[in-house]
């Protein structure tokens, strides 16, 4: 009994993700993770914090996990981190509304950090093409991202997990901590809503 346990332990050890593999995995998913966080928290810095927190948790808590289990695990951690952020924001907003009358209004100061160079983009060689088409596409993308931001959190979560992260219903249900039926419902509502919104703006998919 014990020897078989030891054997399976060592057998499992060979399949575990090495640091390079983990790094490769994180590099592959980091952009999508950032966008997911951005859709949810709507602030670049906070989204980056959420992604870094999730990465750190994954590396610290699950260094000995096989590579194929990582996508599901990371998604679960990411969604939990986003949920924690919402909770913290709720308590913070409670305090700020309680004490808002005592705080002097100096919010204009925040915009001083804005650096126009940051938003300036260089056109790489891959960006050649019809400028009109490019503009149309970026406008469409903008609209789509705004639309996704306005979706209810659960619907957005279900939609992104199912179609962007290409998870099946059972996996998405495991990440979201709900039944498969409600994943399907959330997902279908989100898709219909997005399609209707795009159609309303004269965009056909």
């Amino acid at each position: 009994m014990r020897s078989s346990h030891v054997f399976s332990f060592f057998q499992g050890r060979t399949l575990l993700a090495t640091q390079q593999e983990l790094s490769g995995f994180l590099a592959e998913i980091e952009r999508r993770a950032y966008k997911q966080a951005l859709f949810a928290v709507r602030d670049e810095h906070l989204a980056l914090d959420v992604v870094q927190d999730s990465m750190t948790k994954l590396v610290e808590k699950y260094p000995g996990k096989p590579l194929e289990e990582l996508p599901l695990l990371f998604q679960r951690i990411l969604q939990n981190t986003i949920r924690d952020f919402y909770r913290r924001q709720k308590t913070r907003s409670l305090w700020t509304t309680l004490f808002s009358s005592f705080i002097p209004r100096n919010q204009e100061k925040e915009n001083e950090d804005y650096d126009p160079l940051e938003t300036l983009q260089l056109d790489g060689p891959s960006n050649f093409g019809d400028p009109h088409e490019q503009l149309e596409q970026s406008q469409l993308l903008n609209l789509l991202e705004k639309a996704i931001e306005t979706l209810p959190a659960r619907q957005r979560q279900a939609f992104l997990l199912r179609y962007w992260e290409e998870m099946d219903v059972a996996e998405a249900a495991a990440v979201m901590g709900c039944s498969e039926g409600s994943v399907k419902t959330h997902c279908s509502r989100a898709t219909h809503r997005l399609a209707a919104l795009l159609e309303k703006n004269g965009i056909e998919l």
Partner: protein, 122 residues
């Protein structure tokens, strides 16, 4: 077009959006990844100590010491309370003795039958 196709088309567009992420953001993502991977070594060394038992021993020892210390503190507190209470009781007896010796007893003491019995005994 069914729901799945619509979903796929939308996410294809979202994939295009990934290329539009600002360079500064990409750099920060990269440094976030590196920072998180720095913890990998520590995590690995903890995992490689042994079959879990020896790696956890230190932790358990700390928990045991904590418990032991709190039990000792509790015993000291109980001993303190006991000592303080006996001290107060002897204080009360002392007061009565002094009153008897200085003949300063209140009149009610002489009306008490029990007090007479106590005086007869002595």
């Amino acid at each position: 077009m069914n729901e799945h196709e619509v979903g796929k088309k939308i996410t294809k567009l979202l994939d295009l959006g990934l290329d539009d992420i600002k360079q500064s953001t990409l750099n920060r993502l990269q440094s976030a990844r590196r920072a998180s991977l720095e913890n990998y070594h520590m995590a690995e060394s903890v995992a490689n100590v042994g079959q879990g038992a020896s790696a956890r021993n230190g932790n358990e020892w700390q928990i045991k010491t904590g418990k032991l210390l709190s039990i000792i503190a509790l015993l000291f507190a109980l001993a303190g309370i006991f000592y303080w209470q006996t001290l107060q009781q002897s204080d009360e007896n002392e007061e009565i003795d002094i009153l008897v010796l200085t003949d300063d007893l209140p009149i009610n003491a002489y009306l008490d039958d029990g007090f007479d019995a106590w005086l007869d005994q002595h």
